[in-house]
Amino acid sequence: MLLIHCPHCGPRAQTEFSYGGDANVARPPAPEETDDRTWTDYLYLRDNAKGSHAELWQHIFGCRRWLRLHRDVVSHEITSCSDLPRPRTGNGS
């Protein structure tokens, strides 16, 4: 069982969390201006590192915040867990 140290709720079992995948995947800022190859890379291609992996988890049975973890995918050691930076909101109008 993975023990994830949620910065808001403390150490919690993995069953409280939902996995969100590779944290380093960035959506191209302007999809309509993006060529097919870049879009394919974003949608489908992953580095699939065998070692430290930056990944997203959501604490669905807790604070419901999205978290960014660094976890070793061979030893399962979690070396960091932090809040995902809140997206900058628009001008609100």
């Binding site: 069982m1 993975l2 993995q14 069953t15 996995y19 995948g21 590779d22 097919d36 190859r37 394919t40 890379d41 949608l43 489908y44 291609l45 992953r46 580095d47 699939n48 065998k50 992996h53 990944e55 976890r71 995918v73 061979v74 030893s75 399962h76």
Partner: protein, 418 residues
């Protein structure tokens, strides 16, 4: 090397079974080969066998970093089926089913293929309707499928909780009678023996550490036993496809995840069909030794560790007891994990890569074992001719860029959801 037959069994029996010899050689790697296959599991060995048999390429090496069949070939739940909805998958797996039906005879090795039927259970009218659709699609592709009501299910699998009080009451199911199980180790050994007889060098304890290429394509592989040259290299290393492809500078639409399986203690014959539980995710059958063989979902996060976590084991056990309450006192004997290539659409990738001479056979998700014969058949064709076989033309790597994904579940580009 002698053929196996009733006469050979009697002859060895008379001599006290002391005359059996190893059935494949343990050769030193040559400096070069016409084709190299990386990965000595079922897929790699089957590919080598069909390269030699169908395409007369005998100067072939299979390189395996550990021992034959020590990866996912020896870690699956041995289920064979071809009950797919989408045409490309249905045709490919059905070709495999036909090869399975003649495999023991073709290899002269008993792979213990048992067509005991694979039953998918439905728990609502709506789910049964989706099964009806898939069953009709299968029949249009020439695959056997039978839609069962609750009474049919009760007659086929006695002992299951079919009452209205069950946690997920059973409405009916979709049966593929020709589906079943096979002895997974025998598949690796049978292909290894048959490939070796045709001159294929099977080289164990030989880890590929690099892929050498020049401007025209691949030129060979660096291994723990030195450089081996070849202009034709096939990767059959599911679980680590991304790692090997990266050696040639190729990124893949694949993540590695751990899938667990487990067996109970052996009991007398109690279940003669493969049952899959459509409410959650469980597949269970009984091995010839009497163990209940079970599996469920992947653990759900990237992993290269060949071990999983307890929540999935608990979930699988809970599913089993929801179906078969009388198994509550059975004990789990062993659990283990294998690393899956989970693709972005849940379907495999067999074909060419952007690097000339480099071929990929991977992305098997949960479904690699049953595909072994078909996979070897079309991969050998692809490696020998440089072009995909008609059965794997749609399973190409380029489908992701072209938007022609084969997403059976409609789960989207989330590998852990397939």
């Amino acid at each position: 090397m002698s053929r196996y037959s009733f006469a050979s069994l009697v002859r060895h029996g008379v001599m006290g079974h002391r005359g059996w010899k190893p059935v494949w050689r343990d050769p030193e790697p040559k400096s070069s080969y016409d084709a190299i296959i990386v990965g000595g599991g079922g897929h790699g060995l089957a590919s080598a066998y069909y390269l030699a048999k169908n395409h007369h390429l005998n100067n072939v090496a299979v390189l395996e970093k550990g021992w034959l069949g020590g990866g996912n070939t020896g870690r699956n739940t041995t289920i064979v089926r071809s009950n797919y909805l989408l045409d490309a998958n249905a045709r490919f797996y059905e070709h495999g089913m036909k090869l399975w039906e003649g495999l023991s005879r073709d290899l002269n090795f008993n792979v213990m293929f048992s067509q005991r039927g694979v039953l998918n259970l439905a728990h609502s009218k709506g789910q049964l309707e989706t099964f009806r659709r898939r069953g009709n699609a299968m029949r249009l592709n020439g695959i056997d499928a039978e839609l069962l009501n609750r009474g049919d299910v009760a007659a086929l699998v006695p002992g299951m909780d079919l009452s209205g009080n069950a946690r997920f009451p059973i409405e009916g199911g979709l049966l593929q009678p020709r589906g079943g199980t096979a002895r997974h180790d025998a598949v690796a050994w049978g292909y290894a023996r048959a490939a070796d007889r045709r001159g294929v060098d099977i080289i164990q304890n030989c880890e590929v550490t690099g892929i050498r290429r020049d401007r025209t394509g691949v030129t060979g592989v660096e291994t723990s036993r030195g450089f081996i040259a070849s202009k034709r290299i096939g990767l059959a290393v599911a679980g680590h496809s991304t790692q090997l492809a990266a050696m040639a500078g190729v990124r893949l639409p694949i993540e590695s995840h751990v899938l667990q399986a487990m067996v109970s203690e052996p009991v007398k014959p109690v279940l003669d069909t493969v049952v899959t539980f459509g409410a959650a995710h469980l597949y269970v059958s009984q091995s010839d030794k009497g163990e209940l063989v079970m599996g469920g979902d992947i653990d759900g996060y990237n992993s290269f560790a060949q071990r999983g976590n307890l929540p999935v084991i608990e979930h699988v056990a809970a599913c089993l007891l929801a179906l078969f309450p009388q198994f509550s006192r059975l004990r789990i004997l062993r659990t283990w994990g294998g690393i899956m290539d989970m693709t972005m659409d849940g379907s495999p990738i067999i074909g060419t890569t952007p690097v000339p001479g480099l071929f990929l056979n991977g992305g098997w998700c949960y479904g690699g074992f049953k595909a072994t014969p078909a996979s070897g058949w079309v991969f050998a064709h692809t490696m020998a001719t440089g072009q995909p076989h008609s059965l794997n033309a749609d399973l190409n790597l380029d489908r992701f860029r072209q938007g022609r994904v084969l997403d059976e579940k409609g789960a989207g580009p989330y590998p852990w959801a397939h």
